[in-house]
């Protein structure tokens, strides 16, 4: 299959909230299987950029291509049928998990496969068990979210996103709400996915993880990309003063 069909391309995306410019002429591309870390000071527009990629957020200029589907500037980035195709290919995991509290771990994972993809419940459950096993939660299938730790919740959320069989995952600061030892179990799952060829776009503050696991690091500051390259160069010998300033702050 042509690798373009699984790539993500962002061209000249602009986004404003009223008078404030959140994203300014943002362009980059992510190839299949790449792991890209987006870092930068808070308020730089990282989360907004991520949410534009699967159509949760509209934008005011530019175009985003996910596989062979386009998101365009305007109030409705794409018709719902297109959004659904994009969201099936690009899952999303949130900082605050957003598991469905009235459903068990297993039910959380099969919800979309059964009701969006139309999978038979038995097939969906078989796949869901495999996914929960993979993220190390084989023993917690019947648990409700409130009975799980933060790290366990986030791993259920990852399994839930994977259940749609996406080629990539958008991860929005998914370890920020977790204690250090719980972060490790979530990052281990990400490593595993990366090795398996999953495309990962992470908004993150985990510099160590970015350095070790990312193929590229993108630095976003004031809505603009100020740096884009391999972690050794961006984190080691940054070209842009904003990057150096940011790195000094987070590494102190």
């Amino acid at each position: 299959m042509n690798k373009d069909e699984f790539g993500i391309e962002v061209k000249g995306v602009c986004k404003r909230f009223g008078q404030r410019t959140v994203l300014h002429e943002v362009s980059f591309r992510v190839d299949r299987g790449e792991t890209v870390a987006i870092i930068g000071p808070s308020g730089a527009g990282k989360s907004t950029l991520l949410r534009c990629l699967n159509g949760l957020c509209s934008f005011d200029g530019g175009v985003i291509r996910v596989g062979s589907y386009d998101l365009r500037a305007g109030r409705r980035p794409a018709p719902f049928a297109v959004l659904r195709q994009i969201r099936q290919r690009l899952g999303m995991v949130f900082q605050d998990f957003q598991l469905f509290p009235h459903l068990t771990a297993l039910q959380n994972v099969i919800e979309a496969p059964v009701h969006v993809l139309g999978l038979a419940r038995r097939d969906a459950e078989r796949r869901a068990r495999a996914l929960l096993d993979r993220v190390g939660l084989g023993d917690h299938m019947a648990a409700y979210p409130r009975e799980l730790s933060g790290g366990q919740k986030q791993r259920v959320a990852i399994a839930r996103a994977l259940a749609m069989d996406p080629f990539g995952l958008l991860c929005d600061e998914i370890t920020s709400a977790l204690d250090p030892e719980l972060k490790a179990e979530v990052l281990a799952v990400l490593e595993d996915l990366r090795r398996d060829g999953m495309t990962l776009i992470l908004v993150t503050h985990e510099m160590a993880f970015a350095r070790r696991a990312a193929d590229r690091v993108i630095v976003l500051a004031d809505g603009e990309i100020v740096e884009d390259g391999p972690p050794s160069r961006v984190l080691g010998t940054p070209e842009h003063p904003r990057t150096s300033r940011f790195l000094e702050q987070v590494l102190l």
């Binding site: 699967n54 949760l56 719902f80 959004l83 659904r84 969201r87 099936q88 899952g91 999303m92 949130f94 605050d96 957003q98 598991l99 469905f100 509290p101 009235h102 459903l103 068990t104 919800e111 979309a112 009701h115 969006v116 409700y144 979210p145 409130r146 839930r160 996103a161 749609m164």
Partner: protein, 509 residues
């Protein structure tokens, strides 16, 4: 005769007001010892209680001067005042509570078309009768199917009358199941509208309300007979005896006859006033209201209350959701319509709505010559009225419940490719129900008790049944407790059910 008005049916408001006033007077007396002193100095004036609300031709507000009352009883009171040489001061008092008010000492006597009945005679000292009432059958002017009550009974027709009156007892004795009303205008209105076949009420009422109505006619001669008398406290024997003498005097000197002629109420039956001895009446078979006799009636009332509340709430719950959704997610006109609905139905009194549905709708259909009838049955009018009204409240509860679910849940579902409707059905509503259920159960319990006002559209539910029974048996406390118990038996499990569901659906949170 009786004229029960919204005042007593809408009892909680009235009772609250009375309670506040009584409490106020109590405090006033405590802090101001002079209050009582002033009271005794004006003792020479007699306090006479009657209900002026819709009380024509007995005692009613003067259309020319609403501050005053007029009526044949007002004329009689003036004549008595002259004979006794004591001023008589009228006080407004709810008809249903006249006997209770007399016992409490709120006034000195009640003269308000009170029929002499054995039950009442047990607790009050009646004067000699001042009027012999008869009962007049009234039908629609085109009526030709029957010529008297017996023929109507054979036809299986329906007769309307006032509750707790001689007419009711007479009809029930004949084997009718009369339709009971709380005031004297509505039976004639229902007769006109074709909801019932005939009305049997005291002649003075028929003379005043039915005779001027060209769509109605009197059928046959008046039937039945009974006495109106003035009620005193048994311990006020001296006063009662003085009034008896004064009444005898008014009868002898023709003043009484003049009053009745003025109001078109004189008839041959009044000749009996000279020889009337009310002990005959009292000697009538005494109806004993034992538990075994009144409780089945209360149960029937409780069933009507339950049925009415459940169906009304069901309608409100079904109607409330689309209204809430229109307000939350609808286009501008839909949103606006939902807001208008909620504000309108929350803003108008349910009483007004019920009146409109029951009495107003048929006249609209008639006035515009609509090909279909809008004559709702009493129970349908009540269910529709409460359903529409409560739908406004339920819509707001739904809205609050739906809005309490964080936006992140919508986003999480959207990012899995779920559409808005699917998300709402599978993710949002199941969580919102936990928030929605407790206030909705509260509303249901409130509705349960609110339904007590539907007797204005002639539905006899639990509270109405209590009023009827308590009044005929005078066992206010005993039957009141039994009624309260029934309400509790019905509403307490509802609260338990709500907690159970909250727990069941709330798991995971």
């Amino acid at each position: 005769m009786g004229y029960d008005r919204w005042g007593s049916q809408h009892g909680h408001l009235l009772k609250a007001t009375v309670a506040v006033i009584v409490a106020g007077i109590f405090v006033f007396c405590l802090v101001s010892p002079r209050g009582q002193a002033e009271e005794t100095s004006s003792q020479s004036s007699l306090r006479w209680a009657a209900d002026a609300e819709g009380g024509a031709p007995y005692t009613f507000q003067d259309p020319n001067d609403p501050q005053r009352v007029i009526g044949f009883e007002v004329d009689l009171a003036e004549a008595l005042s002259r004979k006794l040489n004591r001023p008589i001061e009228w006080v407004q008092y709810d008809y249903m509570s006249l006997v209770a008010g007399l016992q409490r000492g709120d006034f000195d006597f009640a003269m308000n078309g009170l029929e002499v009945t054995p039950d009442r005679a047990k607790v009050v000292r009646f004067s000699r009768p001042y009027y012999v009432y008869t009962l007049q059958l009234v039908v629609r002017v085109e009526e030709s199917r029957f010529a008297n009550l017996e023929e109507l009974l054979a036809l299986g027709g329906t007769v309307g009358t006032l509750e707790e009156t001689a007419a009711q007892r007479l009809l029930e004795g004949m084997g009718f199941q009369p339709k009971l009303y709380g005031n004297q205008t509505e039976p004639y209105l229902d007769l006109e509208l074709g909801r019932i076949d005939a009305v049997l009420m005291d002649l003075p009422i028929a003379v005043y309300f039915a005779r001027p109505n060209r769509k109605l006619k009197f059928l046959g001669e008046p039937i039945g007979q009974g006495y109106y008398a003035i009620a005193f406290r048994p311990e006020d024997e001296e006063l009662a005896a003085a009034v008896d003498r004064a009444l005898a005097g008014l009868l002898a000197d023709g003043q009484l006859k003049a009053i009745y002629e003025k109001w078109g109420l004189w008839n041959a039956a009044q000749e009996k006033l000279t020889q009337a001895d009310i002990s005959d009446v009292i000697a009538e078979s005494r109806q004993k209201w034992t538990f075994a006799r009144y409780f089945p009636l209360l149960l029937r009332g409780a069933w009507v209350t339950t049925y009415l509340s459940v169906l009304s709430m069901l309608l409100a719950i079904i109607l409330g959701l689309p209204i809430a959704l229109a307000r939350l997610f609808g286009s501008f006109p839909l949103r606006w319509a939902a807001v208008a609905y909620v504000e309108f139905f929350r803003g108008i009194p349910i009483l007004l709505l019920l009146f409109f549905l029951y009495y107003g709708l048929p006249t609209i259909a008639d006035a515009y010559g609509l090909p279909f009838s809008l004559r709702l049955s009493p129970i349908t009018a009540a269910i529709v009225g409460f359903g529409l009204n409560y739908a406004a409240y339920e819509a707001e509860i739904y809205r609050a419940g739906i809005r309490s679910i964080p936006a992140g849940q919508w986003e999480a579902a959207a990012s899995l490719g779920m559409g808005r409707i699917l998300t709402f059905r599978r993710i949002i509503l199941p969580q919102a129900i936990r928030v929605i259920l407790p206030p909705m159960t509260n509303d249901f319990i409130a509705l349960f008790k609110d339904t007590s006002i539907v007797s204005i559209v002639a539905v006899v539910e639990l509270t109405k049944q209590y009023q009827i029974l308590a009044k005929s048996s005078l066992k206010y406390l005993e039957i009141g407790l039994a009624t309260a118990l029934l309400y509790l038996i019905l509403s307490v499990p509802l609260g338990a059910l709500s907690r159970h569901l909250e727990h069941r659906w709330g798991k995971g949170q």
